[in-house]
Symmetry: C2
Subunit: 306 residues, 2 copies
């Protein structure tokens, strides 16, 4: 996530309008008679990848960007879309499930090919990447990365999705860098985040019995410079991140606490920390596409904790 | 760690020679009568920081390096050394313990100021860094980073220390990129690493019941490009790292396993994965300094796992 922007009030108003439209559509889409209902009640318009990208980018301030990692990683802009899947990481597992859904367009928040720029030559002769490309090509699966744009939406699509799933939307104030919740122990906040976001294990630096109210929420892997700058400026009771560099943010927080700082740290894991943003994308995108199915397939936490 | 070099046979012979000299010294140094014994049996020579750095660098091929992060982060080269502490991260806690030991020279593998280059302006107005600098200056504590040089020692000082502490030196063959141990399940190997290295929790991607014999050991945070290239080239049964980027190595390993790869992954944690190398530095350095006390103060894992 990028932390909520200071000037997203218009975006938020727009969002609330969309939400009202969405709620009816969602009731329909969640019924077992989905595909039949879609055929009956939608105009049945076919979209190309390019058309869907255009529909989305119309809602993103400043889009299209000159420089962005949000490019098409496989497939063609002229391809007809049979169904859309949203996810954090377009893993092989997610691709196979997409094929089984008869969908062919994956909108993924994070890289397809194990590096931020999706440079296919990042590691020479990468046999896994080669098999992944073959799987995509054989099944005509398109992947579009939707990272910079979704974070640039107002409100930030990932941050908003996480707040929504955590049940904290009522505490979200556009323009405020922190979310102020009723005071609770670090232990209780951790348990709430684990249960509401469906996370099995987290890593923490801090006193589990300390009271926290002012939450700094930066899902994903924003980098140490940004995470540490945020703590220096906002002094949250707890910083919640997806992923960090241990030699940067973790050591900074540890030293800060040795000097008496009360800022605790919760590390959720990268994939699970931002997936709610890609889940929320389903709700945001569906009413714009007249019946085309949009499904979130969570890429989940990759680790066993032993 | 860098993986064991292909041309470290001379270094290894040198190491074995030193080890024989060390074993007697270690017995002496571990007795409670340490400081008295040191006075009686050592020439009592005083060293400056510069002299100790010179003694160490004489053993590092190609040193001194033109470009390196291994610079003095606090203190002066002309300072007389009262005692040496080795550690992974020179945390505030380690600095305070160093002061209590009446030592004044910390040799640390990782950064002091939360970024690889130890740029003190990495985050503007960093209040934690400011307090840390004041603590160091007030107590005349010098910190030297010993990262590039220790990895450039033959054998790599960190890798060697980890193999030694894991009880795997018998399987170490200079020039071989993998350590081949008797076949065991991933679960048993994990338990062995946790108990021998003193690690409470690790993260794993893989089948805990699979048999593993060919171990790729890359402690620390070598970066996704190097970790993935290593797996592509060597196809270990398990890759053991300290830290990783989840969007790089973790996703690569997860996809590889979806395509049938048997390479598992164990993530130890950065600090605990390389500390054995700084513990081994005590053994390596002590006999070169005629009685000056060298102590390892482990910086330990910073996280609570919930």
């Amino acid at each position: 996530m990028n932390t909520p922007s200071t000037n997203d009030a218009p975006g938020r108003r727009k969002f609330i309008g969309d939400s009202l439209k969405i709620s009816g559509a969602l009731t329909l889409l969640s019924s077992p008679a989905l595909s039949i209902a879609g055929t009956i009640f939608s105009p049945g318009k076919e979209f190309t990848i390019r058309e869907i990208m255009d529909i989305i980018l119309k809602e993103i301030p400043g889009a299209p960007f000159q420089q962005t990692v949000d490019t098409l990683k496989s497939g063609s802009p002229d391809q007809k879309v049979t169904g859309i899947v949203t996810t954090m990481f377009p893993t092989v597992d997610v691709i196979k499930k997409t094929i089984r859904l008869n969908a062919n367009f994956i909108i993924a928040h994070e890289p397809s090919f194990y590096n931020h720029a999706d440079d296919i030559n990042w590691v020479t002769g990468n046999s896994v990447l080669k098999q992944k490309l073959e799987l995509l090509q054989k099944n005509n699966i398109a992947i579009w990365r939707f990272h910079d744009y979704w974070h640039s939406h107002r409100p930030d699509g990932v941050g908003y999705g996480v707040l929504k799933k955590a049940g904290w939307l009522q505490y979200y104030k556009p323009g405020e860098p922190l979310v102020v919740i009723p005071s609770a122990t670090l232990k209780n906040i951790t348990q709430h985040l684990k249960s509401s976001l469906g996370i099995d294990h987290v890593r923490i630096i801090g006193d589990l019995s300390q009271q926290c109210s002012r939450i700094g929420l930066i899902p994903g892997a924003a980098g140490g410079q940004r995470q540490v700058s945020f703590v220096e400026k906002e002094k949250p009771d707890v910083l919640v991140v997806g992923e960090l560099h241990e030699w940067e943010t973790a050591e900074y927080i540890r030293d800060a606490q040795s000097f008496g700082s009360k800022t605790a740290l919760i590390v959720l894991g990268h994939s699970v920390s931002e997936e709610p943003g890609m889940e929320y994308l389903v709700e945001w995108l569906t009413p714009k596409l007249g019946g085309l199915k949009v499904t979130n397939l969570p890429s989940n936490n990759p680790f066993i904790w032993v």
